[in-house]
């Protein structure tokens, strides 16, 4: 195998610290829900949710690259696993969320009451 088997314990604990800090930030923001973030939106999503999604991405990166040791794999394997996932998830979210939003508009503007 390409990567040498030196002990990585220091890096493991660093990453654990990072993941903990990110989780604590998420939880604190989730409890407080600062109004300035919660009530201002960017591209149809409020700022608080943007923060949550970005922090989730950061956590996912560290779990995959450090814990699953993706950073030690060959780049061919890395790309073969990660790009299909990113592309398909982004595509799926794009079509489904836009469609969901459209259906919402249809219900809201329709002449038939559906929830009363």
């Amino acid at each position: 195998m390409s990567h040498a088997h030196v002990s990585n314990t220091k890096r493991i604990w660093t990453v654990f610290g990072l993941l903990s800090i990110v989780t604590i930030i998420e939880v604190v923001l989730g409890i407080i829900k600062p109004e300035i973030l919660h009530n201002n939106s960017l591209l149809g999503l409020n700022l608080l949710n943007w923060i949550f999604i970005i922090l989730t991405g950061v956590k996912a990166y560290y779990i995959v690259y450090a814990f699953m040791h993706m950073e030690g794999e060959k780049s061919a394997l890395r790309h073969a696993v990660i790009w299909p996932l990113i592309f398909l998830v982004a595509y799926l979210l794009f079509i489904l969320l836009i469609e969901g939003n459209y259906v919402f508009g249809v219900f809201k503007n329709s002449t038939i009451k559906w929830n009363f």
Binding site: S7, I31, I53, F67, K74, L85, L96, G100, F116
Partner: protein
């Protein structure tokens, strides 16, 4: 460094190529691609949740009102705390797993045993916590009323605090009989009767002038709309069902799909954790028996570790989608 497929490495490769073009063993490679496909499955579920949520964006339940239970802290709602604890348990079990893999690389059997054991314990705590969370979700706390039109009415006092049905519903001298199979003419039965009938809730509402109805609708301040007393009376006339707790048909939290997605996605994830624990236990005994010591490679721990980290990875997303966003 490969485990079981070493017999003919270096031989019979087409065109003089490499036996391991991606630098990883067959087993590890397959684990990666299994994880890729499983990740896409979960993405499908979460995207479907997103679709339904966008579809009912104005009436979706607010998560920090639903998941508020913490053990030994009954009666004081604490949003997020318990689920944050669960997240930490899973992250920490991921850490012990990666430490086990690390110890395996150095062929330190005792350390692998210790860390794998801790990983299993963490997994069990997580699955237990999830069972407890499900129990609270299914049991419900306040109860609600469903109207003929299918929308859900909850009850609050004048300050906006939630009020449980038990706090105000009247007790009327009426007989309600559970329809069960043995009383039905044909295969007839009904869901367990709620503690109060619609008439009892309506009578109790009349007797308590300080109780108001809260609808599912989310207003501009991202709070649920509270109706005035006269509007509340009007809406409550349309009540058709008393809803307590949650099942796959309806739930007291709001949109019917909310409980369905909660059960399905956290259930599917919990099932993954459970299988992860079972696989970890098998590997744990293999380590104890010295299987990998004889094989001179602990790569199996690494492969199982990949699966375990994946379970943690999925939880990171489930946590965000269900509890934060």
């Amino acid at each position: 460094m490969s485990t079981v497929t070493t017999a003919n490495s270096g031989e019979k490769v087409w065109g003089g190529g490499d036996n391991q073009p991606l630098g990883a063993d067959y087993g590890k490679l397959m684990m990666w691609f299994f994880i890729l496909s499983d990740a896409l499955t979960f993405s499908g579920f979460l995207a479907a949740y997103g679709f339904s949520r966008f579809k009912f964006i104005e009436t979706w339940p607010l998560a920090d009102e639903v998941f508020t239970h913490v053990p030994f802290m009954h009666g004081s709602p604490q949003p997020m705390l318990y689920v944050a604890f669960m997240t930490f348990v899973l992250i920490f079990s991921s850490v012990t797993m990666v430490l086990a893999v690390d110890a395996g690389h150095q062929m330190k059997k005792d350390k692998v045993v210790l860390y794998l054991f801790l990983t299993i314990i963490g997994g069990l705590i997580f699955v237990g916590s999830q069972a407890w969370e499900w129990k609270n979700f299914i049991k419900g706390e306040y109860g609600a009323v469903e109207t003929k039109g299918g929308s859900l009415l909850q009850f609050v006092d004048t300050e906006g605090h939630r009020v449980a049905l038990a706090d105000f519903a009247a007790t009327l001298p009426e007989d309600r009989e559970q329809l069960s199979r043995n009383k039905g003419k044909w295969f007839m039965e009904e869901a367990t009767l709620p503690a109060y009938s619609v008439a009892e809730v309506q009578a109790g509402f009349k007797a308590h002038p300080n109780i108001l109805v809260r609808t599912e609708h989310i207003d501009a301040n991202k709070k649920k709309t509270v109706l005035s007393r006269s509007e509340s009376e009007l809406r409550l006339k349309d009540a058709s069902l008393v809803v307590e707790g949650a099942n796959l048909t309806r739930n007291e939290y709001g949109s019917k799909l909310f409980a369905d997605f909660f059960f399905f996605i956290t259930g599917f994830h919990g099932f993954h954790v459970f299988s992860g624990v079972v696989i970890n236990i098998i590997i744990f005994f293999n380590v104890l028996l010295g299987t990998y010591e004889k094989r001179k490679s602990y790569e199996m721990v690494e492969k199982v570790g990949l699966y375990w980290h994946f379970v943690d990875l999925v939880w990171v997303f489930v946590f965000t989608v269900f509890y934060l966003v």
